[in-house]
């Protein structure tokens, strides 16, 4: 079974990545298994300066998933470059740096800092975090998003992935604007804005009030957006949202994702990413596919037609 897949010029040994923010910088999972098994690692969002994140409570249960409002607590660019990246460099896997900040200047500073560093395979621009005050700023307006992407495009030669928010009227329009501004790939989806109410304390469970919904509950939303993006746009999509089995991963590939990422599932099963790689191999075979490329967009004829792969 050929598991390798290419996204934005990067060849992943298999299409299973870990999603940003549910894997830290890999240190904890490395206590459990060899990170070199993974197709890739999307690290927790990195900002120019260290960020404290939101006050607790940051987590709430939800039907078929969870809500979080971590608020992008992270040690900042310098710590990432001196401590976290060197740790990940030792593994034979593709490291994608999730970049976040409050404004263009911040984004650009992180991108410039990461550019040219050994062991960085690509940048993922997180313009879709619902849990910081200005997190959705760039997502809500395709022009602003495109403006940021264009500037970042000039600041680096690294492959550029833009993470798409599901909390917008027109994710395809947003993706198109990013593609035209120079994005090499898209990732979708970030979390879905939600809330939980604590009846006893008479307030939202989460201190930040709203949080981002993730886990199986959002899988249909992720599949829909990946399908629509793959159908309408020429750049590849990394799919995520509720993947917890090889079957889920296959559904995303068939919807039009070139690779997938596993997020919330690692909380329930820390071994989910390597398990899913094995399951995916069996699911591909059972479904009659000889490679990840064959499964790609198999349920999305418009996408296949457009790329003339079909």
């Amino acid at each position: 079974m050929e598991l390798a897949t290419e996204v934005a010029g990067i060849t992943f040994k298999n299409p299973v990545l870990t999603a940003s923010g549910t894997f830290g910088y890999g240190r904890e999972a490395a206590e459990l298994y060899d990170l070199s098994l993974l197709g890739g690692v999307m690290v927790k969002g990195v900002s120019r300066e260290p960020w404290s994140g939101n006050p607790p409570i940051r987590i709430a249960r939800a039907p078929g998933g969870m809500l979080n409002a971590i608020g992008l607590q992270n040690p900042g660019l310098e710590h990432f470059l001196t401590v976290d990246l060197p740790f990940l460099r030792d593994y034979d896997t593709k490291v994608i740096v999730n970049v976040v900040d409050h404004d263009e200047e911040g984004f650009l500073a992180v991108v410039r800092g990461v550019d040219g560093q050994r062991g960085v395979a690509a940048i993922e621009l997180n313009i879709s975090c619902p849990n910081v005050a200005d997190g959705l700023l760039f997502s809500q307006d395709p022009d602003r998003a495109a403006g940021l992407v264009a500037k970042v495009r000039q600041a680096t030669r690294l492959p550029l992935i833009v993470k798409i928010s599901p909390n917008v009227t027109d994710p395809v329009g947003l993706g198109r604007a990013c593609a035209q501004a120079g994005a090499d790939a898209l990732s979708a989806i970030n979390t879905v804005l939600g809330m939980a109410i604590d009846v006893e304390r008479r307030r939202p469970v989460i201190a930040n009030r709203t949080g981002g919904l993730s886990g199986p509950a959002v899988k249909p939303v992720g599949l829909r957006i990946v399908y629509d993006l793959a159908r309408a746009l020429d750049i590849p999509v990394i799919g995520m949202g509720g993947i917890e089995s090889g079957r889920d991963a296959l559904e995303y590939l068939m919807a039009g994702a070139r690779a997938v990422a596993v997020g919330t599932a690692v909380f329930r099963d820390p071994l989910a990413p390597p398990r899913i790689i094995g399951e995916l191999e069996r699911e591909l075979e059972a479904a009659g596919f000889a490679s990840v490329g064959e499964a790609w967009a198999a349920a999305n004829p418009d996408a296949r037609r457009r790329t003339q792969d079909a």
Partner: protein, 260 residues
């Protein structure tokens, strides 16, 4: 720390809303007092995430129990388990209590279902020749848990209830002053922990440790969900140092490390 498939061997109900599950692990486990496990039970409506529980008693290298109050869907699902049912357990997790070099006099303060981590700690302290006294508090006498189990370790137990139905009438922390302890260890609801913190501040009893709780998603350090504010953050870390992870840097903290 590793995820494993465990089996329920016994289910006890020490109080109307409390369950003690004895679990059999596939391999020998040697958790330290104060460590915990993430337990998953089913994928029902609100139980996608596993739930953190301190281990309570250890019976053999592969058998230990968990004692919990049913407060929501996660603990309800765990409470519905019966002998021979299987579940996932991930652990042991976090940093437990530091054990003293030399024998001392320790007071263990447990509120409600805060008693589980104190049992294994009490045993370890007794094995090291410490004198141990346990102060157990609850709303009413029906909520007093673990008394017999602690006494079984040769530990003197004093009780307090909010309604005066047994022992001291008032918060269990009122009893702290009389213990003459060199070290205090507390686990229980936040107001109780705050009172212990205040006691340590007042008496300058440096060897005071608190076992914290927090809403957790992963339990092993990757989600950053379990934040607790640090009292004196490492300036090197900048704003990133504002919060510690209860699951990784804790759940046990010295009284002066965290803001409650």
């Amino acid at each position: 720390m590793r995820p494993q498939d465990v089996r329920v061997v016994e289910r006890l109900q020490p109080a109307p809303d409390c369950v003690e599950l004895v679990l059999e692990f596939p391999q020998d486990e040697e958790p330290e007092p104060g460590q915990f496990y993430m337990l998953s039970a089913g994928d029902g409506r609100d139980t996608y995430l596993p739930r953190p529980l301190s281990f309570f008693r250890t019976f053999s290298p592969r058998r230990m129990s968990f004692l919990f109050r049913v407060v929501g869907p996660g603990t309800a699902a765990l409470g519905r388990l019966r002998p021979r049912d299987r579940l996932q357990a991930m652990g042991p997790l976090g940093h437990g209590f530091p054990l003293p070099e030399r024998p001392l006099r320790a007071a263990l303060v447990g509120g409600g279902v805060g008693v589980p981590p104190l049992w294994s700690l009490g045993r370890a302290l007794r094995q090291r020749g410490c004198e141990v006294i346990a102060l157990i508090g609850a709303r009413t006498r029906f909520g007093l848990l673990g008394q017999a189990e602690l006494q079984g370790l040769g530990i003197e137990v004093r009780t307090a209830t909010d309604d005066g139905s047994r022992g001291h009438h008032g918060p269990v922390t009122d009893l702290l002053g009389e213990t003459g302890a060199d070290a205090v260890v507390a686990c229980g609801p936040e107001p109780m922990l705050r009172a212990v913190q205040a006691f340590a501040e007042r008496t300058r009893l440096q060897d005071t440790y608190l076992a914290l709780e927090a809403a957790m998603a992963c339990g092993y350090g990757v989600c950053l969900g379990c934040a607790v504010e640090r009292k004196s953050p490492d300036p090197e870390l900048g704003a990133y140092g504002t919060y510690a992870r209860v699951c990784r840097e804790g759940p046990v903290f010295r009284w002066d490390e965290v803001k409650l």
